[in-house]
């Protein structure tokens, strides 16, 4: 036994050789799924979950998304009182009611949309963000209702409305109720349009199906994060239908920009400033200081 080992407290001494690596707190390091770089977790967090090496945009939770977007002061949550039910007593391999409980436990959210009133660079707004980890960010009755309540607060207070989408589409487990959320969310936007209140739609990875085919493309300005999968039908469904390989980069943000489907691609690190700038232009306010 070396002099060093003699000095060590017994707890540490008892460790097997090679145990040091296991002692590293979980999640301290992150391997980028795009470029494979090993990143210090804190660095990634400070970089808004964007890989500093390759600019890959990692998914972020709805709360974190809104945190990155809004000023720290004066935030109020809208629609938290709206909670999911299981209207059809739906059961596939799992019961929908049980699924709701499981996702509540795993995400800390009780459905797939969080709405906050707040400000961006001192410009008051209402902002909504999807929680993709809650049943694939699927849109059911609660998502639709919270979206509408957010928009109504914007209407009452003459505020712009922002929505950051991340969703696989409509929530099958609520049947036709979910399909109707497409009509519901699109309809409330007609009221914002009547009052000339801006609706900014931000599309992130992924924005598909019923979410893509309703309010997502109805933004006065439609922004996408780089490399996001955005479309109506999923790539696998299309491949099965047309029986050919899809072109490189098909349904990615860059492809959509080229096809004229979106206004711009904005890096997450520029998003907050970019949205503030757009809002200040639309509402004829002075330029926002970076």
């Amino acid at each position: 036994m070396s002099w060093l080992q003699k000095l060590l407290p017994p707890k540490i001494k008892s460790r097997e050789p090679g145990a040091e690596s296991k002692g590293v707190p979980e999640g301290l390091w992150h391997k980028c799924s795009a470029c494979g770089s090993v990143l210090y977790r804190t660095d990634l967090e400070n970089n808004l979950e964007v890989c500093p090496k390759c600019s890959y945009h990692n998914p972020v939770s709805s709360r974190r998304r809104l945190d990155l977007l809004l000023d720290p002061e004066g935030r109020f949550e809208i629609g938290a009182e709206v909670q999911p039910v299981d209207p059809l007593k739906f059961k596939a391999t799992k019961r929908y009611a049980d699924q709701l409980g499981q996702y509540r436990a795993s995400t800390g959210e009780d459905d797939a949309l969080v709405v906050l009133q707040g400000a961006i660079h001192n410009l008051p707004v209402v902002a909504a963000a999807f929680e993709y980890k809650f049943i694939g960010g699927s849109m059911g009755s609660v998502v639709g209702e919270r979206f509408v309540r957010g928009a109504r607060v914007a209407l009452e207070n003459n505020l712009p409305f922002i929505c950051v989408a991340a969703s696989g589409g409509a929530r099958m487990q609520e049947g036709l109720n979910s399909l109707m959320q497409m009509a519901k969310t699109s309809a409330i936007l007609t009221k914002l349009a009547d009052k000339r209140l801006p609706f900014i739609s931000v599309l992130t990875d992924p924005t598909m199906g019923g979410v893509s085919a309703s309010f997502a493309f109805l933004g006065d300005v439609v922004i996408a994060e780089p490399g996001a999968l955005i479309g109506f039908a999923g790539p696998r469904v299309i491949e099965q239908t047309v029986r050919e390989t899809l072109p490189e980069g098909f349904q990615r943000s860059e492809f959509l920009l080229e096809k004229g489907a979106i206004d711009m691609i904005v890096d997450r690190r520029e998003m907050r400033l970019q949205i503030a700038q757009l809002l200040s232009l639309l509402s004829k306010q002075p330029a926002v200081a970076a």
Partner: protein, 322 residues
């Protein structure tokens, strides 16, 4: 035309075959067997009634997709006079999966729009199996705007497996085209009546189905995803489609109970395809009855009601904020 029988209708098919045979025999027979035939015909009717009295959701979705079911143009030609089909979205193409145009219904000018399926292989291909591309939805919107300009009611007929999942459709903005219609239809300043006549397949159906009155034929379906699609995602096998059909609640009667549609239009015994004439008569009455109260309202009142109805969609609970 010889009736195509579905798998669960085989007992009816056997009886009908027997009746057919007897008729053939009677033609060159001295013995009168018409009484026997009449008896069998009655039996076949009864059997059909019994079978159709307890159809499962999966069976109803088979009837909704029946190859002899009346399609949009069958209704338009039977119900309307002076149909003038209008083509194209003025931007890219004319999509044959959606038809539309001016017509007279009960002598009154209207705009009719609907998904169109084909009858034979060639026609089906031409109509793309009733699966529209963005230009189809944009044509529909153009016609709705035209109706608004000239203050004509809009009658839509829904019958699609869904919007077409193709490369070109995505490139030309399938999502935007559908979303745009949902937005515009919510505030279109003329009465809209939507009737699901066959398959109401997801967003591709809804894109022409936002309306003041939504009706469904007795054996039509309306769903957020096809039973096959739902089953392959949630059960990991498309073979569970019958379970998915049951679980999602896709039939007219279930959706009426859930207050998601306004009216169920009865079909002839054995489905709309068994008696087109009778089906057309019921449809004419249903649309006439639906249109009258809508036209009696002021347009602002109509739009308020339409909007409140859209806002009422969805089931959730409210808890006191913590």
């Amino acid at each position: 035309m010889k009736t195509t029988f579905l798998d669960f209708e085989q007992p009816i098919a056997e009886l009908e075959n027997k009746i057919e045979e007897l008729r053939f025999v009677q033609d060159d027979s001295a013995v009168d067997i018409s009484v026997e035939i009449g008896h069998l015909e009655k039996k076949s009717q009864e059997l059909t009634k019994t079978i159709y009295g307890k159809l499962t959701s999966a069976q109803i979705s088979q009837v909704a997709r029946h190859p002899q079911r009346p399609y949009t143009l069958d209704y338009v030609n039977a119900l309307c006079t002076d149909f003038e089909e209008l083509h194209g979205d003025r931007a890219y193409a004319d999509d044959a999966a959606i038809v539309g145009g001016l017509a007279r219904f009960n002598g009154q000018s209207v705009m009719v729009i609907g998904h169109q399926k084909g009858r034979d292989t060639k026609d089906r291909q031409y109509r793309n199996f009733g699966m529209p591309r963005p230009e189809g939805y944009r044509k529909a919107l153009r016609l709705m705007k035209l109706a608004e300009k000239f203050n004509l009611p809009v009658l839509t007929f829904i019958d699609t497996p869904g919007a077409y999942p193709g490369i070109g459709a995505e490139e030309r903005g399938q999502s935007e085209a559908i979303g745009r219609n949902l937005f515009e239809m919510a505030k279109l300043r003329v009465p809209i009546i939507a009737t699901v006549i066959g398959e109401g397949g997801s967003g591709g159906a809804l894109a022409i189905a936002v309306a003041d009155t939504v009706m469904m034929l007795q054996y039509s379906t309306y769903s957020v995803i096809s039973p096959e699609g739902c089953a392959s995602i949630l059960w990991k096998t498309a073979e569970k489609a019958p379970d998915a059909a049951e679980a999602m609640g896709i039939t007219a009667s279930r959706l009426k109970t859930l207050s998601l549609i306004d009216k169920v239009i009865s079909e002839p015994v054995g489905g709309a395809h068994r008696n087109h004439a009778q089906m057309m008569a019921s449809m004419k009455k249903a649309i006439t009855d639906a249109l009258k109260p809508l036209q009696e309202k002021s347009i602002d009142e109509l739009l308020d009601t339409r909007f409140e109805r859209l806002m009422s969609y969805g089931k959730f609970k409210e808890v006191a904020a913590v």
